[in-house]
């Protein structure tokens, strides 16, 4: 069965520190997608990135970067030089072809202290 594990429940860092959020997934599918969403205090989930199972190329977008490794079934998310506005709950999610739904991890609450 598909499963997404975010072992870090809560992380606190001081502003300007780098922080990595871990995501480990389980799947028997060969075609699937992985996602990261951010949930700020306002409540709505904001899409950050989507990566398909055939594309292991790492991605950098500004202060954000993602490391996808199929060998370890991980899709980790790093924020460089964290800012207070990065404080949020971050969700990793898995979607596989032939279904209509995501499997979400339990989320990691990130607190960035000024």
């Amino acid at each position: 069965a598909q499963k997404v594990t975010q072992a870090q429940t809560e992380i606190s860092v001081v502003e300007k520190e780098d922080v990595t959020l871990d995501c480990v997934y389980e799947t028997r599918d060969t075609t699937y997608y992985l996602f990261w969403y951010k949930q700020p205090p306002s409540g709505e989930l904001v899409f950050l990135i989507r990566r398909n199972s055939f594309d292991e190329q790492n991605e950098i977008s500004g202060r954000y970067s993602w490391n996808f490794q199929k060998s370890t079934s991980s899709f980790n998310f790093t924020i460089t030089a964290s800012q207070v506005v990065d404080s949020a709950v971050y969700f990793c999610a898995h979607w596989f072809s032939g279904t209509y739904k995501y499997i979400f991890g339990t989320g990691t609450r990130l607190k960035v202290l000024a």
């Binding site: 409540g43 709505e44 989930l45 209509y100 739904k101 991890g105 339990t106 989320g107």
Partner: protein, 111 residues
């Protein structure tokens, strides 16, 4: 931008009441979803609709029903609210299944 609007941000209801949570999207999306978010459990799918008057059960449909009479509106109904339904409820819509837009959520407290 697609906007998904949930009618209430906070709601307090009594045990046994019938509760309606409303969700409206403004971009003609076929697919709409209701999720429940609880600490330590992440988001869990309650119901999903892929067209008007069509619905599918998600992972935790017990105690809930849904209604989709118009394409833009998807309602979640708690027939008889119970305290274990106290939670954050998130609605989402999508045109294609890989691209969701979420609403801001309704935090429901059942007392």
């Amino acid at each position: 931008d697609v906007k998904v609007t949930q009618s209430s941000r906070y709601l307090v209801k009594r045990t046994g009441e019938k509760v309606f949570l409303e969700c409206v999207q403004d971009m003609d999306h076929e697919n709409m979803f209701w999720y429940r978010q609880d600490p330590g459990l992440g988001l869990r799918l309650i119901y999903f609709s892929y067209d008007v008057k069509m619905k599918e059960k998600g992972d935790i449909p017990e105690g809930y029903s849904v209604s989709r009479e118009k394409k833009e509106r998807f309602s979640l109904i708690l027939e008889s609210a119970s305290t274990n339904q106290t939670s954050m409820y998130l609605c989402a819509s999508s045109l294609v299944l890989l691209s969701y837009t979420f609403g801001s959520g309704t935090r429901l407290t059942v007392v």
